[in-house]
Amino acid sequence: MWRIFKDLLKHNGEFRAGALLISIVVAMAALSFISPYAPDVSYVVAPDVPPNASNWLGTTSRGQDVFWQLTFAIRNTLLFGLLVALLSRLVALMVGLLAGYCGGWVDRVLMSVNDTFNVIPLFPLLILFYFVLRDRMSTPLLAVLMASLGWAYDARLIRSIAMSLKSREFTATGIFSGMTAREILLEQHLPYIMPIVFSTALNNMNWSIGLQVTLAVLGFMDIETPTIGSMIYWANQHTAIVAGIWWWIAFPVALVVMTFVGLFLLAVSMNEYIDPRSRLAGMEGASQ
């Protein structure tokens, strides 16, 4: 897998751009560990100060430094996205592999359920969850909820790969030469599945972070822990735009947009690399 990354980094412009954006974002998140201010205290600096030498990105109406607050916010947001992506990969892998390998009625039942989750608009359901859980809706709980709702699209993808792998010749060769099912799965099939799992994980992160930001902005989420969404929420509560405190909104938005675009570029360039057809199309750029 590392060879793939090295190749992509060297030759694919989109991957480089995405990697650059994501490194900036991760660097910001890492800085949170050396922040001079704790994330949950307020009124530690003069409020409503525009960006200057000592407060690089300005301060909020709650007397917090935007820059350092942002490092915590992006760290929590990223961790949230990672958590959801990880958990939903597990579900998607289980469902997809089971449906693809077993076939028959197992496949049909799983796919009916899968398509149901694909169609149902999740946002109203999440709102419903918030409505009944209110303040007990913590960030980890939301992550679990979203993971248990957001696996449908990728499960179908994994299933189609499993189905095609099952009928490939090298699988039959493996069986005939006495490999156990576990060996076949891990050694033969996993290298095909892993890149897809990885790029769908990136897309999933985009989805979950986007949804979390939206929920937080509406106040439908735990707004005490700093996340990008909660920062925007508080900015709205203090009518930052109208009051002219644009830096409170602009910088979180800019950082999160960087995250989204970066993840997307990474996922797209990986997909292009994996898909043999687009590879062939990419080879046309040869001249002598």
């Binding site: 060297k10 694919n12 990419g282 080879m283 750029g285 040869a286 001249s287």
Partner: protein
């Protein structure tokens, strides 16, 4: 007097790729010269990766990256002044497409638009080239379909509703309806069973005789060549190694590769062992110096390793590219 409808001169077409820092040049067609005369069926034979499909694609002007036309010419008698179709202006080329030059593609499974009825495909391909009203066009199509023994119900069908043999016959009808002067047929019967194959070959021969067109017929199956073609060219490693009237070639092959090809054909009645050629097919990305065949040739000499033999006349209308065969009378 037989004039050449197609004249190919030292045609070279390579696949050039550059991806993720790896540059590759595959010399699929490396200097091919031959001609196809009026009213004849010229066969091209060779194993896979001999370059025959790339050759006919280059002749037909189907040169898309990563394939590049590097050198040479492929002149048609009905397009004087044009070196190759790929480098000519699109308007000039479109004027002859289908009306003078048609193509029967390999793989009848997928050459027809799956979402259009056969009638629409005929319309797309041939309507512009056949004068007359829509009704006259339809009558012409129906009568032509009759020649390949398909009836009018085919017109309203979608490709997936027809059998493989029917689809192949549709493509043959499509390719011949405008009475083209030159037809390129690339493995048109490979995917069919022998019975349908026989029928289809018969149709091709019949149509060719009726219209008087020239046909460039590509297939690896020597049996088909024996049954259908007038002259036969053998390709190996991107080059023509031998060419002669078919019957003569099959009787007296003069190139070691051709000899081996013919000797490997199964014959009813004999049960002798057939030897395979040592070595593997040539690597066109890194071709051997000298004669492409020398690594596997049973009579290779020192000169074969360094100097590539030209295609030289050797006997009646017979050309061979081999140092062991001197220039004949």
């Amino acid at each position: 007097m037989n004039t050449a409808v197609l004249q190919v001169e030292d045609l070279r077409a390579y696949f050039r790729t550059r991806y993720f820092g790896v540059k590759r040049e595959v010399r699929a067609v490396d200097g091919v010269t031959f001609e196809v005369r009026a009213d004849e069926i010229y066969g091209l034979a060779g194993e896979s990766s001999s370059g025959k499909t790339t050759l006919v694609k280059a002749i037909a002007g189907l040169v898309k990256p990563p394939l590049q036309l590097v050198d040479g010419a492929a002149r048609f008698s009905f397009l004087p002044g044009v070196r190759t179709l790929a480098t000519a202006s699109p308007d000039v080329v479109r004027a002859v497409r289908w009306s003078r030059l048609s193509y029967i593609m390999q793989g009848s499974m997928s050459v027809l638009n799956p979402l259009r009825r056969i009638r629409s495909t005929f319309d797309d391909f041939a309507r512009d080239h056949i004068a007359g009203s829509a009704a006259e066009f339809e009558r012409a199509v129906l009568s032509h379909l009759g020649k390949v023994r398909l009836d009018s119900s085919v017109l309203d069908a979608y490709p997936h509703e027809l059998s493989g043999g029917m689809r192949q016959r549709v493509t043959i009808a499509l390719a011949t309806i405008c009475n083209p002067q030159f037809v390129i047929a690339d493995e048109p019967t490979t995917a069919l069973d022998v019975i349908v194959q026989r029928e289809v070959l018969g149709m091709i021969r019949q149509l060719q005789q009726e219209i008087g067109s020239s046909v460039l017929f590509v297939t690896h199956d020597l049996g088909v060549h024996a049954a259908l073609t007038d002259r036969l060219g053998i390709m190996y490693g991107g080059r023509l190694v031998e060419e002669a009237p078919t019957a003569q070639l099959l009787r007296e092959p003069r190139h070691p590769y051709t000899r081996h090809l013919i000797a490997s054909l199964p014959r009813i009645g004999t049960q002798e062992r057939r030897d395979g050629l040592p070595g593997g097919p040539p690597n066109l990305a890194d071709p051997a110096t000298g004669c492409r065949f020398h690594p596997r040739c049973p009579i290779a000499m020192d000169v074969c390793r360094t100097v590539a033999p030209d295609l030289r006349p050797s006997g009646d209308d017979h050309r061979v590219a081999c140092h062991a065969e001197g220039a004949g009378p």
